[in-house]
Structure formats: structure tokens, C-alpha cells
Amino acid sequence: MSPSLLLLLALGLGLTAWLAARARAWSFRRADPGVRLAALPGYHGWYVALWVLVPALLVALVWNAVMPQLVLQSVLADPAAASLPPFGMLRDSMLAEARAAATGAAPGVFNPAARALIEPFRAAIGRFEAIGLAALLVAAFAGGAWAFLRLKPDFAARTRVERAVMVALVLASLVAILTTLGIFISLVFETVRFFGMVSPIDFLFGTHWAPDPMARAEAVDPSRYGALPLFWGTIYIGAIIAMIVAIPLGLMSAIYLTQYASPRWRKWLKPALEILAGVPTVVYGYFAALTVAPLVRDVARSLGVANASSESALAAGLVMGIMIIPFVSSMADDSIAAVPQSMRDGSLAMGATTNETIRRVLVPAALPGIVAGVMLAVSRAIGETMIVVMAAGAAANLSANPLESMTTVTFQIVAMLTGEGSFDHPATLSAFALGFVLFLVTLTLNFIALRVVKRFREAYE
């Protein structure tokens, strides 16, 4: 039986349980119209349904995990398995082929020696599937019956169902912690290895970045692993230039859409802007490299900057800024629209112009949302690589001149990880160290941001 069929079965059982329990709750009420149920019949339904679903799904999960092993054991015990080659990939492949043929996933076997195993597989699978199905049904019915018998008019089904909801909520928030932990772990070991080859001092404070993944790994030249220009490039392109574009454009767009534009226009324009976030970055990359960068260069030349190049941080930052406009505009739009109408009325009635109302009342009240949008936008900009390499080149320059070519931490991570170097080379390992340091930096920034936002939040009502 395929997992999806099992799932459907479990769901079907759950639905039945739900209906039955709900009917039972109604019957309490019908039996004694005066009785006030402690919870709505629907909650009784959910309570029993959960008691059916959770055990059934658990059994299905466990069985799915152990069944192949059990089937395998039983097939290997079969005399037909004696002719199998000893351990090794060939043996595995024969077993897998026979299994596939037995389940009907494959029309036949490729290796004729495996044919003898099809029947034993078919038999074992049939047997264990039956056992699994029985176990599932038993679990479902046991859970269901236990729960069903607990139903009483004064049974607090709601509290219990809500407790289950709360567990789900907590688990959902833990995903974030686990992911953070996972990232930390997947970065930290390789980072430590890297720091065994290049000292953290050289790495963090060096100003020359030119790792050579093809050079001999034993002869590391720590002076080529100075990551400072990368961090500077990241901040300059992603957090400064891109934000100079995205914040005003995004915020003003949001303001215009919520406060000035007619609702009809807003309905169309807001999703239209959101397309900008979904245009694949290759497109932005070509746009940046072939349209914007030459434009920037030509303008710079006409302004008298003789050596302006075609690859500039400015071009990359500008295009990146456009890409992330929707992060700012949509989030700001939502938060501004959510400020209660009475705040607006209050200000307008004082004789404030719309612009004063927006700047002094609405934007401060919507600030948490706007800040969150900007933070998301910065995050997105930091993570972007394609635009950087296509428009800003990949040279690590520590310079304040926006017309110079620059590169970012993220691009270097991608380049090192997807490049040709071998995985024990410090150049490839440096990607982990870069990721790790970036992770720590953003973590710190977020701690600070949390404090600051808490301070400045203006709660209405």
C-alpha cells in the first residue's frame, strides 16, 4: 500500500471519527435539552478525530520506516536468496530490482538473476502490508475508542483540542530555532577547519581577497584571505546603495498607493509591483550588465570621471534596489493601511495636510511594519549574487567609490561552493567561514534591531 493511500485511509478514519463524535455530542444535548455542553459538538469531533489521526499517522510513519527492512529480512531468509552475490552494490541493485518488479513499479527485471526473488518479495510485501494495515487500524480504533468513551456533556473537549493547537504553534516556532541551529552546525565545523589554515585575524582584518582554489592546498597564503573588502562590498551594495533606491521608492510607492491612489488603482498596482520581486535574477543581471552599467559608465564619463568602468557597485546596487522595492512597498502598504482610520481623522481634523498626516502620524504608527519590510529587503539584497557578478564584477575592492567594481560575501560563497576547487581546499572552506561570520553579524544586528524597535514602537489604542 502506498504512503498516500495510507494517508487517505487515516484521513478517512479521522473524518468518520469526527462525524461520529460530533453526532454523539449532539445526542447529549438532544437527550437532555437543558444541559449546557462544556464544549461545542465540533470540538468533541476534533478531539476524537485527533485521537484517531495521530496514532494512525504515527503507526504509518513507523511502519513505513521499518517495513522495508523487515521485508528484506524475510526475503533473505528465502532459499532463492542464497544465490545472491555477497554484499555489495550489485546485490543491492538486484534486490531493489526485484522489489520494484514485485510492487509493480517496474515492468520487469533487468538482471535475470533477480527474477527468482520477485515472488518472495511479493509474498513478504503482502504479508507485512497486511500486518501494517492491521496495526494502523488497531491504533486508530484504540485511540478513537478511548477518546470516544471520554465524551461527556461536561467534557472539556475544547481545552484539549486547543492544547493540541498550542503544541502545533510551539512546534512551528521551534522550526526556526532548529533551522538556525542546523545552519550553525553545518557551518561551524568547516569554519573551524578553515581557521586552522588561515588565522581569524588575517581573515577578518585582511584587506586583500584573492583565494586561488587551484593552488596547492598545502601552501596556503593567508594574506590572500582578507575578507574585509567582501564585507564592505556587501554593506555598500546591499545595505547602502540598494537601500538608497529601495527605501524611498518603496515607501513613497506605498504611501501613494494607500493615501492618494484610488482603491481601484491600488488593487492593480500593488500586485504589479510585487512582480518585481519575482522576476528571475538572471533577467536583472542582464538588465544591470547590459543596460544600467553602461549607462552609469557613460554618465560618469560625461561627468568627467575618466576611468569609470563598465562594472560598478553603483549599477549593481541600483538594480538590486529595484528588485527589492516590493519588499518595502508591500509591507509598508499593509502596515500603513492597518493604522486605524480614527488616527488619520484625528490628524486631518487638526488641519494637517495629507503629507503631514502621513509623515507625522501614519508612518510612526506603522513603523514596525516598515522597518520589518526594510529588514527583509536588506536581507534579500545581501543574499543576491547574480546581479553582483554580472554588473559589479567580482573584484574585491575596499573602496568608497561607487563606480568601482566590488563583490559581496554571498557571491564569493556561491562562487567557492559551486566552483571547481576541491572541498578540502581552504578557498572552498572559506565559503563556510564567510557564511559563518555573516551569520554572526546579521544575528548581532538583529539583536540590536529588536532592542531598537521595542523602544520606538508606537502602539495605537
Binding site: P3, M89, A96, A210, M390, G393, E420
Partner: protein, 330 residues
């Protein structure tokens, strides 16, 4: 079909190849032809991870979870071979599938000159012959060249093409100087640095692995020069102009005969342990052998066929799967 749990058992019904982005387009064509001429086999899965990443995956061990073939635009390194051995990937067949040339090109009617490895080295090295780089224009490198600014778009340090550039051009240009040759014997690391480090002041622009972008950028800038695989030059011959190296033009024949200095071999590495277990693996390798000839389908898309001797050796390897011996690996 649900692959049976996470046990050691497990297989794949399709061949899986990973590795070099240079070999990738050729491997794709081979895969396509393989499916056509062998109906009944699932279509192979070809992934472009870069040579290093590919060999890393390849050497993770034996089993359905690891690739069967690693495509490489350079030979496997001794250290990589060791790693393979350590992880139980004992027998590996090395097959050279052809050659690739790195070509220097510019826009038709744009900057044109006869390059030599020495000129390239002097123009692109971070510290030519150990001295600080001061050349701004080609004229600074060699008075006979035009006074145009040096602007070369090329592959990133993480790519095999760059590795080839270093090995085939820069090192040669560097070693033309006697002092450097001496340095090679006294201080190998220093020599390598001086000879292969590329300047990063904007004269050499690392363009990621976006070769088409390089083509477009030099098409729109007559003063710029691009470095990329020969196949890109061939496809864009109507717009671009290959620059001569030592007076030799980057053409198919010149690369095949190694007259043009920028030619390098391409390889595939086959995991022998998988030969019987993965359906179609032998046939897929056989398809390579059918395709790499001078008039075969791969040549049409820019693969340069190896010399007949090498080709014969490879064809033999693709049949007998003689394991690679580590002697001679660097």
C-alpha cells in the same frame, strides 16, 4: 515508486553524471543520443557542479546515492584520488573525451593584435615577474601594441577554464623569463604566486561563469577582449574575431593539433563498481565513444576531437574499463 527507506539497499534506474560545466553541454548531447538509440533506458541525469564539486561527490563512496560519472575539465588530482580510495571508490576508469581550447577574442573590427603568452602574462599578472603591475594600456606592455586600455573579461578563479588559462598561458609566459624559471626550483610557492596570480584592479574582469555575458560585453565594447571556451567563439564567429596566439589562430584544427597554445583535455571518470549495478552505465559510456569523433555530433557543438592515438586509447578504456593508476596524477 518509493525508494525503499534509508537502508543500504537502493538503486537508481538512471545514470548520474556530475562535474565540469565545460563538459556539461557535451554530456547532455551524449545523454540525449543515448536515450534515442537505447530505448528502454531512463534518461541519464547530468549535473553541472564544477569539476571539483563533481569529484567531491563522486568520491563520496560507492552506492546508489553517489554519482556514476564525474566529468572533469582537468585531470583528477592525486589528493582527490586518495580521497576516493579512502571512501572505497577503488577502481576508477579515466577516459579522455576530447579537447577544449581557451580562446581570446574581441569584437569584429575591434581591438586586434597578435598575442603571446608573455604579453598576456605581462598584461594580466598581478605582479609580472615579481614587480608591481603598472601597465594600463597594451602599449605599456609592448610598444608595438595599440595604446588601448587593457580590459579583459575572463573566467573566475573558481573555474576550470581559469585553471587552464593559468597553466597553458600565464605560466608559459612567466617561465619565458629566466629568473622565474630559477625561482621555480628555489621557491615553488612563490613561483606559483608570481606566475599565476591575476590582477584585480579592474583590467581583468572576472565575469562569473557567464560566458554568454562575456560575449555580449565584448560585442558592445570594441576595446575589450574576452577569454572563454573555444565553443563560444565558434558559435559567435559572425560577431567575434579570435585573436592569434604566437601567430596561430584559434581554429578547430590548430587546437586539435595543439598548435594553438590554449588547448586542454577533457575527461570523464567512471566508477567501475557501478558498472554492473546501474543499468545503462556501460552503454552510456559507449555512447560517448560513438560521439567524440571529429565528424561526430559533439564536434558540431564545439568539442575538439583528441588525436587519433588518444582517441583509440580512450575507446579501449571505454570498453575494458581498466582502472586508473595514481602514478602520474599531480
Amino acid at each position: 515508486a518509493c525508494g525503499g527507506g534509508g537502508t543500504s539497499e537502493g538503486t537508481r534506474d538512471s545514470v548520474r553524471a556530475v562535474g565540469s560545466s565545460t563538459v556539461y553541454p557535451f554530456a547532455k548531447v551524449v545523454a540525449e543520443n543515448f536515450v534515442r538509440s537505447n530505448s528502454g533506458f531512463a534518461s541519464p541525469i547530468i549535473e553541472s557542479t564544477g569539476t571539483g564539486g563533481g569529484i567531491e561527490l563522486f568520491c563520496q563512496g560507492v552506492g546508489a546515492n553517489t554519482p556514476d560519472i564525474a566529468n572533469a575539465s582537468r585531470r583528477m588530482k592525486a589528493s582527490e584520488f586518495e580521497k576516493c580510495q579512502k571512501n572505497g571508490v577503488k577502481d576508477i576508469t579515466e577516459i579522455q573525451v576530447g579537447l577544449d581550447g581557451i580562446a581570446f577574442a574581441s569584437k569584429k573590427g575591434g581591438i586586434d593584435m597578435n598575442l603571446t603568452p608573455e604579453i598576456v602574462y605581462k598584461a594580466l599578472a598581478a605582479n609580472p615577474y615579481g614587480k608591481p603591475q603598472t601597465a594600463k594600456t597594451w602599449k605599456d606592455v609592448d610598444p608595438s601594441l595599440p595604446a588601448k586600455p587593457i580590459l579583459v573579461y575572463g573566467p573566475p578563479s573558481t573555474s576550470g577554464t581559469r585553471d587552464a588559462l593559468k597553466e597553458l598561458i600565464l605560466s608559459k609566459g612567466c617561465d619565458a623569463d629566466a629568473g622565474m624559471k630559477a625561482l621555480k626550483d628555489s621557491d615553488k610557492d612563490k613561483h606559483e604566486q608570481v606566475c599565476t596570480e591575476v590582477r584585480d584592479d579592474g583590467a581583468y574582469v572576472d565575469q562569473g561563469e557567464q560566458d554568454n555575458l562575456i560575449v555580449q560585453k565584448i560585442e558592445s565594447n570594441p576595446d575589450a577582449m574576452g577569454v572563454f571556451g573555444y565553443s563560444y567563439l565558434e558559435e559567435n564567429l559572425d560577431q567575434l574575431n579570435g585573436l592569434t596566439m604566437n601567430g596561430v589562430e584559434p581554429t578547430y584544427d590548430n587546437i586539435a593539433s595543439f598548435k594553438y597554445p590554449g588547448a586542454r583535455p577533457l575527461f570523464i571518470y567512471v566508477k567501475n563498481a557501478h558498472l554492473d549495478a546501474i543499468r545503462g552505465l556501460r552503454e552510456f559510456v559507449g555512447e560517448w565513444a560513438k560521439s567524440w569523433a571529429k565528424d561526430g555530433p559533439l564536434a558540431k557543438i564545439g568539442l575538439v576531437a583528441a588525436t587519433p592515438e588518444v582517441e583509440a586509447k580512450s575507446a579501449e578504456a571505454a570498453k575494458s574499463f581498466t582502472p586508473l593508476s595514481p602514478t602520474g596524477l599531480k
